[in-house]
Symmetry: C2
Subunit: 230 residues, 2 copies
């Protein structure tokens, strides 16, 4: 990493200069009442590393992030959100962009009603928690009038990882989908094993640091804009 | 704080030397599936500050904590847990103790069934999320055969704060109950406004730093063990 940093300083790669790129990261948090919420274990590490790798190459990065405990990489404009609906609204405000990289683990559902005060324990047993479906940020960006030229989705799966990921790519309409198997504690970890799915099929990458996944992906994004037909 | 630290070094207060004290802190986290969970916004700050204030006075502190992003105070044995049931088991293992200070914001409910794989979005709408009640750690400690001589509970309330807290104290059977109004963003904040409820009634403290709330409470606990009848 130090060697790479020195190389970057000596021979800066500005292949994404002038490109506006939206990155979503972290979990979203759906409140049930003023103290309780529904969320997931996304740490935001992979998304923040991607944002940093894009910015280093000169991209103008907007990072839309759920609550995480990592700091903002240099030179990146971060917009902090809590809920899926807030994240979608921030994404739509950020358009137009050249590319969108949707790494956030958004809550698929939220409570149908937000209780105004703390839900009390009563003698009548647990409350009935009715869920409703959240908007689909990735699919919305893919169908937007101002659709980014490149939309990259992420799929955290625990079963039938590649089958689920391929189906997700087609269903959402994104160009590339990065699939990872989250059974063995990827959330919060430093390393990741991913597969990249595009029109040409599946490319499985070896296990590597999340910063290396980010570098590889940033290089591919730079190549896409250098040779849009590839 | 620097002045206090210097005073402590010059004239150490060892009024809790030899006392074993259990402190619970942070939220508990109840998984719905391998990636999703139900939790709450407790930061653990107040509990960690209390653990530190007790340890400084010589107490042998066991801190049983849900996931938080603050580091363990010096000289404290921390046991990390996720769920309410894990926290209860750790508390029972820690007995006997002289006092228990239960600051943790435990999840009152958990999913009736833990899904073994990530729950998928289907065309049939959101999943039905059935909840069951978790064991009550504070009430269990109050009824334990090895009941600590002093049990202190915390109540985070948003409505009718003092009424709810007084009712909670009687229902659970704890000696003291510290009530705080969490409407105005106490979770994660550095300051806190609390009321202490005991047999003598309600004592409302002015707003102060959480470390000062911790100091006041530690002094009261030391006084309790010095003059048990008070």
């Amino acid at each position: 990493a130090i060697r790479d940093a020195i190389l970057h300083i000596l021979t800066p790669d500005r292949s994404l200069a002038g490109r506006r790129i939206l990155v979503t990261a972290g979990p979203t948090v759906e409140p049930l009442d003023p103290v309780r919420f529904l969320s997931n274990h996304s740490s935001g590490r992979q998304g923040y590393a991607i944002a940093a790798a894009l910015a280093v190459r000169g991209a103008d990065v907007t990072l839309i992030s759920g609550p995480v405990s990592i700091s903002v990489p240099d030179g990146i404009h971060r917009i902090s959100v809590q809920t899926t609906r807030e994240m979608l609204a921030a994404c739509e405000t950020a358009l137009p962009v050249d590319a969108a990289v949707c790494t956030a683990a958004v809550s698929d559902w939220r409570a149908k009603e937000l209780a105004p005060g703390k839900i009390k324990k009563t003698g009548d047993g647990p409350p009935r928690l009715e869920l409703v479906e959240n908007p689909d940020i990735l699919a919305t960006l893919c169908c937007a009038a101002q659709r980014p030229r490149l939309v990259v989705g992420f799929a955290a799966e625990t079963d039938d990882v590649l089958d689920n990921a391929q189906a997700k790519r087609l269903r959402k309409g994104c160009d590339w989908l990065v699939a990872n198997d989250v059974r063995q504690g990827v959330f919060g970890a430093m390393r990741n094993t991913v597969s990249l799915i595009d029109d040409n099929g599946i490319q499985s990458w070896p296990e590597m640091d999340k910063t290396d996944v980010a570098e590889q992906l940033a290089q591919r994004i730079a190549a896409f804009f250098a040779h849009p037909s590839s």
